[in-house]
């Protein structure tokens, strides 16, 4: 019951804020809606027992990336409205309709598949069983430790690759944005 209340509240807020993000006239407002959206998504993560990811979501997305967007919005302080010119060949409304159609189809698929293969999910198992922290009981209490363990053992090489990607992106961003190196 409580879970349902929380989920529906969050779902409505997340979708509403998502629509607000893409429909807000001012870019700054759009950014603000995005921040709140992300915070709500983080709350959703908490309800899904992913505390660490939730905190990272707040720290990296809300505290880092979106601040970057806000900076850029303020730097690109346009005198004329940024969306004044529209190319006649663009197809926004067709695209919207198409996106809605795809969504409808996906919902249809989802509903059908749930009906047809009821209960086939939730098999359990997974990586949580054989980590040194399996004595923690559920995934909840030792989430951070277990995630760290998996990240630094099974996914070590992707993890290092991600760090290299971040380094390269950092250098690339500096080179791109700096006026005189």
């Amino acid at each position: 019951m409580a879970e349902a209340i929380v989920f529906w509240t969050l779902a409505v807020l997340i979708l509403g804020l998502g629509i607000a993000v893409i429909s807000a006239r001012s870019a700054v407002h759009s950014v603000l809606f995005l921040v709140v959206n992300f915070l709500l998504v983080a709350v959703l993560y908490v309800t899904l027992n992913a505390e660490f990811v939730a905190v990272i979501q707040v720290l990296v997305y809300a505290g880092g990336i979106v601040v970057l967007y806000l900076f850029v919005v303020m730097l690109v302080n346009l005198k004329k409205a940024p969306e004044r010119y529209a190319d006649p060949r663009r197809v926004p409304w067709t695209g919207t309709l198409l996106a809605g159609a795809v969504l409808a189809e996906v919902i249809a698929i989802g509903v059908y598949s749930t009906v047809s293969s009821d209960g086939a999910a939730a098999t359990g198992g997974g990586l949580g069983a054989d980590t040194p922290f399996s004595d923690c009981g559920s995934l909840v209490s030792c989430n951070t430790e277990q995630l760290g363990w998996v990240l630094y053992t099974s996914y070590l090489i992707p993890f290092e690759l991600a760090s290299m990607l971040l380094l390269v992106a950092m250098i690339g961003a500096i080179v791109l944005a700096k006026r005189h190196l």
């Binding site: 060949r89 198409l98 795809v102």
Partner: protein, 704 residues
């Protein structure tokens, strides 16, 4: 003796310092002192080496400093030989003697030059001493080199230095022309020398002097009966080289012109050392030459003819240095005469004494020229002995020595040559003819030398007047442009070497006193004994041949030659001191021969008309051929190419390009519809992606 390689290197270092640093930074005195110090050091090392050689049983020492050319397989007469050359130096009696001459006289002349050259600009002084040191470096390399190639390095090097020093006053056209002439004429000789070296390697498979001599000593002597063989060919080629370097007929023409250079250069290079390189080279290869008697005969003939011709020209020259230059040519002829008759020791002996007195005479003439403010014409001198007593006295000693008056050095050496010539039995030439020509030359020598002395130092002063206003003119320290205060004695720097050389010219002969004087002088023919090991192959320590005739006959010959010389002196005294007008009368009465002699037998004109014009003419002809025929062909090819390429161009433009453009046009027309899809709007592309997703999802939905 281990450090003999250092002897050439020291002047080389001096040259490098003076050349690289000195021209920009050194003062006049510093450059001269540095160069002289290097020569003094080399002299000291030479003396030490000589002393050690005297103590050496073998009288032979070879030092290999480094490998020069690594072994290369090359064709020889005995199949494939290994051609390798080392930087090796040899010390034996002959090279030791030359070493002492070069370093000793070179050192004196360096000292003399400090005084002589002081009116030059500062950089020029360093340049001069750089060249002079460089010359000594190459000359010592030439002398010490123990194979043909190392000698050739020195041989070419001294030629280069000679060219540089003759053209020292390169602003003067005559000087630079003379330099070029010397260089080019020397090239002809070098051509012969190089061919000789090639042939030596091809024949013997080695270039080492000692090995070559050893090998040659086992080959038969190529007498007229045996015929003209390979050794003769080698010797002839080498002799061509010697004629170039030592100014013999027909390549002697460059030496008189070389007097355009500074006088110390004339003394060092063109009298004492470099021009004797040819003689040295022939002596060095004595074993080879003794195996080619026919070539020896040619050498003797060329030598004596050169001696005579040069002496006759010298009779009428009025330029003081040219007289000495022809005298040098003449004396070199004597030396070749000696080698030609097999008297290598006598040749080397005369080389040594000549180095002393000719260097002395040149330096004396330089002193005179210096004192007379660059005046070289003897007709504008006269009576100078009261102004420059030291010069006059030393030059007189030199003249007496060259004329062959006992007991001065020239007497001993020249007499030895004449004696050996007298004993010689020629192959083609009748006996005694060579001797007769030699004697005539001796008389002429005495005459023209004393003509020079008399015209210069005796009689009335005929030169230009000079002002007495010493106080009126500020004495300019730089030298140039300072007023001339009349003939004057030269500074100490110049007179001290004169005195030293005069002493040498007086005493040098006593190392080679003829055997005829055994009774009064116990150390006879010292130098011949000393040098003998250098003229025979290593294995063949054959006893020295005794050249004897009756004691009375020998003394008689001596007395005859002395008398001849005295006659020449008397004739000169009569014509130029007692009655100066007599010489002019004589010249008028013999106008034809006089004109021929004054114009040096028209040899330069002859060469100009034949060799120079021939070369120029053929070059012009070739140039015309080149321009008309070769260039025409090239241009024709060019025009043909242009025409062909025009055709190609038309084809390219309308056919090939047409095809290409057609293809492009077709592609462009065909792709019109596809092009429309590329709007450049990213969102349209995203839309297409979404379309793909839609299609996929729809398919998924329907397929289920």
């Amino acid at each position: 003796m281990e450090s003999i390689w250092l002897i050439p290197l020291l002047p080389g270092i001096g040259a490098a310092i003076n050349g690289l640093v000195g021209i920009r930074f050194f003062g006049k005195r510093l450059a001269g002192v540095l160069a002289s110090f290097m020569m003094g050091w080399a002299l000291w090392l030479s003396l030490v080496a000589f002393w050690e050689l005297l103590g050496d049983e073998d009288r032979f020492h070879q030092v290999t400093v480094a490998s020069w050319i690594p072994p290369i397989p090359l064709d020889t007469v005995d199949g494939i030989g290994s051609f390798s050359v080392d930087w090796s130096f040899t010390l034996d009696p002959l090279s030791a003697m030359m070493l002492l001459i070069v370093t000793g006289i070179g050192f004196l002349i360096h000292i003399y030059s400090i005084g002589y050259i002081e009116h030059e600009p500062r950089g020029g002084v360093a340049r001069f001493f750089c060249y002079l040191n460089l010359f000594c470096f190459f000359m010592l390399t030439l002398v010490l080199g123990s194979n043909f190639l190392v000698m050739f390095v020195g041989w070419e090097g001294v030629g280069l230095c000679s060219y540089l020093l003759i053209g020292y006053w390169y602003q003067k056209k005559s000087a630079s022309d003379a330099g070029k002439k010397a260089f080019i004429v020397n090239r002809i000789g070098d051509w012969g020398f190089v061919l000789g070296v090639f042939l030596v390697f091809f024949t013997f498979g080695t270039l080492d002097f000692r090995a070559v001599a050893e090998a040659a000593s086992h080959m038969p002597v190529e007498t007229a009966a045996v015929g003209f063989g390979v050794i003769s060919a080698i010797c002839l080629f080498l002799f061509i080289g010697a004629t170039g370097k030592s100014a013999q007929i027909p390549l002697y023409v460059w030496l008189p012109d070389a007097m355009e250079g500074p006088t110390p250069v004339s003394a060092l290079i063109h009298a004492a050392t470099m021009v004797t390189a040819g003689v040295y080279m022939v002596c060095r290869n004595a074993v080879l030459f003794t195996h080619a008697p026919m070539v020896m005969e040619v050498v003797a003939i060329v030598g004596v003819l050169t001696a005579l011709v040069a002496a006759t020209i010298g009779l009428v020259q009025t330029d003081i240095k040219r007289v000495l230059a022809y005298s040098t040519v003449s004396q070199l002829g004597y030396m070749f005469l000696a080698t030609g008759v097999g008297a290598f020791g006598a040749a080397a002996f005369h080389l040594m004494t000549h180095a002393f007195f000719k260097a002395l005479l040149f330096l004396g003439s330089g002193s005179v020229i210096h004192g007379m403010n660059e005046e070289q014409d003897m007709r504008r001198m006269g009576g100078l002995r009261q102004y420059m007593p030291v010069t006059a006295l030393t030059m007189a000693i030199g003249a007496v020595a060259i004329a062959g008056i006992p007991p001065f050095s020239g007497f001993f050496s020249k007499d030895e040559i004449l004696f050996r010539t007298y004993l010689h039995h020629g192959v083609f030439v009748p006996d005694k003819v060579l001797w007769g020509l030699g004697v005539v030359t001796a008389m002429l020598t005495a005459f023209y030398m004393f003509r020079l002395i008399n015209m210069t130092f005796f009689g009335a002063y005929r030169g230009p007047a000079w002002g007495h206003g010493a106080e009126d003119h500020g004495h300019d320290e730089d030298g140039h442009g300072h007023a001339w205060h009349g003939p004057h004695e030269s500074p100490r720097w110049m007179t001290i070497p004169l005195v030293v050389l005069a002493v040498g010219a007086m005493l040098a002969g006593f190392v080679g006193v003829p055997i005829a004087f055994e009774a009064v002088w116990p150390w006879t023919a010292t130098i011949e004994h000393f040098l003998h090991p250098s003229f025979v192959a290593e294995g063949a320590h054959a006893a020295e041949e005794a050249h004897h005739m009756s004691l009375l006959g020998e003394l008689g010959l001596m007395a005859f030659s002395v008398l001849i010389a005295l006659g020449g002196i008397w004739f000169a005294y009569r014509n130029y001191v007692e009655r100066p007008e007599a010489a002019e009368r004589l010249a008028e009465s013999l106008a034809g021969p006089h004109r021929v002699l004054t114009n040096k037998y028209y040899v330069d004109e002859l060469y100009d008309a034949t060799v120079v014009r021939g070369t120029m003419g053929s070059a012009g002809g070739l140039w015309t051929v080149d321009r008309q025929v070769v260039d025409g062909a090239v241009n024709g090819t060019g025009w043909t190419t242009i025409a062909a390429s025009w055709v190609s161009h038309v084809l390219d433009k309308y056919v090939v390009d047409g095809l290409v453009n057609l293809t492009a046009w077709l592609c462009g027309e065909a792709s019109y519809a596809f092009r429309r899809a590329q709007t450049g709007l990213i969102q349209n592309y995203a839309f297409v992606t979404l379309l793909g997703v839609f299609a996929f999802v729809t398919w998924f939905l329907v397929a289920r």
